[in-house]
Symmetry: C2
Subunit: 456 residues, 2 copies
């Protein structure tokens, strides 16, 4: 079983049917956030289960959670010496509003030019079908796979994978695997196959500063009472130094340094400063001058103000000296920082710098660990080789600045790294009207996944 020739031929000669089946799948309006679509969400789960059964997967089950169910399936016939690969996907989609901006019905898929237009075509029903069809190609031509596989296709990714934590925790034995193939991360351009090797973690806080018992008249008390908004501002301003470096004690101690090779990989990424400025509308970029923007987003931690509230915020003027001020503050973390350490550092900073003229309260609202995939692992090598074979060039290695629920949870409970990749493009309009899938890239993707399984 070292030759993918037959399976790849199968992929190439069944493209039209694959597309018809994808059209069936995206026609199901499985919008997980809307109650009225609950039956549709279930239908989408059924559709995935039927597909898995049709390609001879075993133990195919629609497993309940407190929310939408998880579709599971497995094929473990490759034996103990072969790796076990989990394939992650989600069958739910985003809402379609504003519906009037769609050029065609989001749930009546239509091909125009090289694209298939439909909600979920790119994010990520197209990716789920690509995975299934790659496995189908091998099963139908060989009757078996070079590796063991397990499927985890959830229905709540678009609503924050709300019940996935409990599900994975409860089923960690069933889900045991060597690593996870997660095609939800997309690529940076149609001619640039991409593997995402890192995700930043998160530690999210709410900081309250309390001054007087109630709002005071700024004329009658201003000058004798430390304004809590002013105190909050002083505390937060001090969390960065003049060069934009974060001043929490020990904050950078566990930040893993970039190797020369990692730096070269970042430099190879095509994102230009000009593009970033155009995309965001800012007058100029900002950040640590020693790192390029892709590194600052992918491999450097941040401390960000997500929200501010104090005193009078309506129209006009009210001369209030506010009783309290609140900030939402979060840190994006990188290996080997942890949210727990970050909280300690933030508390230490506040204890050291908070003046005696106010009281403060810090609440930790959300934590997620950072993730980094070893680029020398068998999984990354296999995927890298498959992508290079199909695209004719070495894939691009990037890191995402955000967090992905399943990646963190699989690391936490199953100890499995995720191979983040996919065939969605930056201009696929995911989460927006007129979502689309670039079909030539999708077909290449199915072929790449087919080859991937042979690269172990």
């Amino acid at each position: 079983m070292t030759d993918s020739t037959k399976a790849v031929e199968y992929v190439r000669s069944n493209g039209k049917r694959f597309l018809d089946e994808l059209k069936e799948f995206v026609a199901i309006p499985s919008v997980s956030t809307l109650d009225e679509h609950k039956p549709d969400v279930r239908r989408a789960a059924d559709w995935v289960a039927t597909q898995l059964r049709s390609i001879k997967m075993k133990k195919v089950m629609i497993m309940p959670t407190k929310g939408h169910p998880v579709v599971y399936g497995e094929w473990l016939g490759a034996g103990k010496s072969a790796p076990t690969v989990m394939i992650y996907g989600h069958y739910d989609v985003q809402p379609v509003d504003p519906i009037q901006l769609w050029k065609s019905d989001p749930f009546k898929p239509v091909a125009r030019g090289e694209y298939l237009f439909a909600r979920g075509a790119s994010d990520m029903k197209g990716q789920v079908v690509a995975s299934i069809k790659a496995v189908e190609a091998i099963m139908r031509t060989e009757g078996k796979l070079p590796v063991n596989i397990k499927w985890l296709v959830e229905g709540e990714e678009e609503i924050g994978s709300e019940h996935l934590d409990e599900f994975i925790k409860k089923n960690k034995k069933l889900l045991a695997c060597d690593f996870c193939l997660n095609p939800d991360a997309g690529m940076i351009a149609a001619d640039k196959p991409t593997i995402t090797t890192g995700l930043r973690g998160l530690a999210y806080f709410e900081l309250y500063v309390y001054g007087p018992d109630k709002d005071l008249h700024s004329g009658l008390f201003g000058g004798t009472i430390h304004n809590p908004a002013q105190a909050l501002i002083e505390l937060i301003a001090g969390m960065h130094d003049k060069n934009g470096k974060i001043t929490l004690p020990g904050f950078y101690d566990n930040v893993r340094k970039l190797s020369k090779k990692e730096h070269e990989d970042f430099k190879r990424l095509p994102t230009s400063n000009k593009e970033l400025i155009q995309m965001t509308g800012v007058p100029a970029l900002w950040g640590e001058p020693k790192f390029i923007p892709a590194e600052r987003v992918g491999a450097r931690p941040t401390l960000e103000v997500n929200g501010l509230l104090s005193g009078f915020t309506g129209q006009g003027s009210k001369t209030v000296l506010p009783a309290w001020a609140m900030a939402k503050i979060s840190c994006r973390l990188v290996p080997d920082q942890t949210p727990e350490e970050t909280e300690k550092q933030l508390r230490a900073y506040l204890k050291e710098h908070a003046p005696k003229t106010i009281k403060w309260k810090l609440t930790n609202l959300h934590n997620a660990g950072a993730a980094l995939t070893n680029t020398e692992s068998a999984g990354v090598k296999a995927l890298s080789k498959a992508l290079e074979t199909v695209w004719g060039k070495r894939p691009y290695f990037k890191r995402e600045g955000g967090s992905i629920g399943s990646v963190v949870l699989l690391q936490k409970y199953v100890g499995a790294d995720s191979l983040l990749t996919g065939f969605g493009l930056p201009d696929d309009n995911v989460h927006s009207p007129n979502e689309r899938l670039h079909l030539p890239t999708w077909y290449k993707g199915i072929e790449a996944f087919t080859r991937f399984f042979y690269n172990f």
Copy 2:
């Protein structure tokens, strides 16, 4: 006419009737902010006009504004060599909510112990009646006054003297006077007659900092985009130095230094740090260490954050990098600062310190000049002598940290200083349930005002 004996005797023998008339006045629910009380507000104006006519004032008129009317009256029979004193008052009152906390009906005045309980008893119908009764005592006993007087009794003080600017501007000839007696400022304690000699001015701004076109995902962009909330915080934090000094260029250049005598007057005031802490509930006081709290509030300028708003402020966590951040910022000003200069200084600071990574917009929402009454003026001397005669001690000179509409407007259009005094006490519950007037102090006040007119 140099002897106040007869008039003072009249005051002493008519106390009960004065109180009955005050009860009539406070029984009128002239709540200026509530539409349903519009007829009551008008009745209160009528009541004042009737009183003025009954003591032989001339040209008594209820003069319309776009809101509630102003009651005017005059007696100019003292001749050109005598000073012309304006007497300011307001006949409107605050709402009574929360009504359930009142021990008796706010508009059914009742005397308990040494106090009269009713809305408006202290703020300031009691003070208006005190002024009227002092003049009545002189007119009824002498048939004439030692000075010329003009009355300006407005009906919108409790709603920000909204139409007083236009009224005084339009009638500045009619209102021409040497100075204004304004008994709306109260005293610091029943045994401490008080003259308020200064008010701080105000320059109120709204500062917006703009970053990206729309809210961004803090994971995908954090580290490359200057967070506008962070930028706003950095700008505002820089407006004070480590010692709490304001850093706007030239901010203190025109701040008039306190004379040794002024400093002594401030030190004589009884406000203790402990009381201020108890009153406000702060853990500790704050401010410029070189000045005592009364000076910091009365004679030193401030820069205060009145409101903050940016990004996500609801419950829980949302990892947004906000598109904008807003602060309401105001400066309390002291002589000889002006709001116009302050705006220039704030703009100069922002131009110098705003980074190129953001855009900003500053809007000036409200301006008011500072006021300082010359303590060597004939008016202050006359009032000071009258208070000393009645209380047996030199009055206390204080400055208020806030601004009073009529004081600023009379200075601006008529060129007249205000003599701020009054017989309300700090524990009169003004603007609160169970407002009350300390009757022994009130009777002393009527006598002091009677004597005041003879001290020129």
